[in-house]
Amino acid sequence: MSHVDPDSIALIALGESALPEDLDHVRNCVACQGEVDELTAIANAARSISPADRPVSPPAQVWDRIEAELGLDVPVTEVAVEPKSRGAHRGMFALAASVGVLVGGLGTYIAVSTDSSDSRATIVAQASLDPLRDVTEPAQASVQQINGDQVLSVQASGLPATDGFYEVWLLAPDAVSMISVGMLDASEGGQFPLPAGIDLAAFPIVDISLEHFDGIAAHSADSVLRGKLEI
């Protein structure tokens, strides 16, 4: 009986269903079973990766201090700093465990009014943002369609001053996938052009998190305001 082909071994290791004869063979073949066990261990380890395991760059001062202490003379500017991610975050890295339970009673409402300042701007979605902690007042968010582009407006004025900054996100209902849309001015709120082609139904939750200048691009899991867009 020939061995199970390597690709099928990998699928078995991932827990996929397989042909009965392949499974029979693996059970009776030390070599194939060994391979399955090795790859299963890798898959299990990978599945245990949490958001905080994603490598992030150290602060720039660390290189400065190393260079100074060792008396090196190489340009600092070339040291890579991980950019703040602007894409849809990957599920695995998206959120720490403390976020994820949506607060009920989001108080959302449908709105199809138009913005009086621009006759071409139409509000296509709107949300009330409820405080998740005691630090702030409820706030409002809306998405306007302006000349074919979608712009998210956040009207928040009660956010306390911070050493870090506030970041605006659109979350999928599972609160795992998310898109960072920009940094929020705590005193004035802000407007954020959304990526073209974004499906608001897939990312309907406006979330505002408190972030620190730690170079970690992922969500801090410290949300202060959140609400669901009614489209």
């Binding site: 390597p6 690709d7 099928s8 071994i9 990998a10 699928l11 290791a13 991932l14 996929e16 269903s17 090795e38 790859l39 890798i42 898959a43 380890a45 990978a46 599945r47 245990s48 990766i49 949490s50 905080a52 395991d53 994603r54 490598p55 992030v56 760059s57 150290p58 602060p59 001062q61 660390v62 290189w63 201090r65 190393i66 202490e69 060792l70 090196l72 003379d73 190489v74 340009p75 070339e78 040291v79 890579a80 991980e82 990957r90 599920g91 695995m92 890295f93 620190h212 730690d214």
Partner: protein
Amino acid sequence: MNVMHTYSDERYGESARVQPDQRALTVKETADRELTERFALGHESAMRDIYERWSSLVYTIALRATRNDADAADITQMVFIAAWKGRAGFDPNSGALPAWLLGICRRKTADFFSAKVRVETAASESVEQADAQILHHVDMDSFDTVIDRVVLADELARLGDPQQKIMELAFFNDLTHIQIASVLDLPLGTVKSHIRRSLDRLKTRLEANSVTR
């Protein structure tokens, strides 16, 4: 649109699609080897390159262990300074540079915790508190698990697409290879072979980076 087309176009065959990855890997491996040699020879620019390549790994591991930005930054600084000063002790032929760096990282982190435990024990009011501190701080087994997870997360991010996307869907969304092929509009055979090769690559990386414990 042409890019999408290439992935799903069977005319080019399996080999045509996988070749660019393999070339990229070879170039990367060659670059790593060359970097390692420059480091061992004491080239200052190699120090910067090594820092660029592996500081995020060291820093994140220290951050996961200490849960403190400033402590993690201190440990990162100590690791790279120790690496540079101790480069004569690194033999490029005996093992991978990242494994050597992570070995230093592991020792510096352990040192950090023993120093912290001594200070905190002295300051603690009760024996129970001191014991709790020690239990919390010197669990090196779980620290090694953290190292493995960060190394795997790093390698996953370096797989490149579509491999990274494929593996994330398999690992974190529990999709079958058939579902993944459908979601990403890739031929089944491509997804299967990417899964196998990516698992092998993660395994190799984990083994290469495994620290002598």
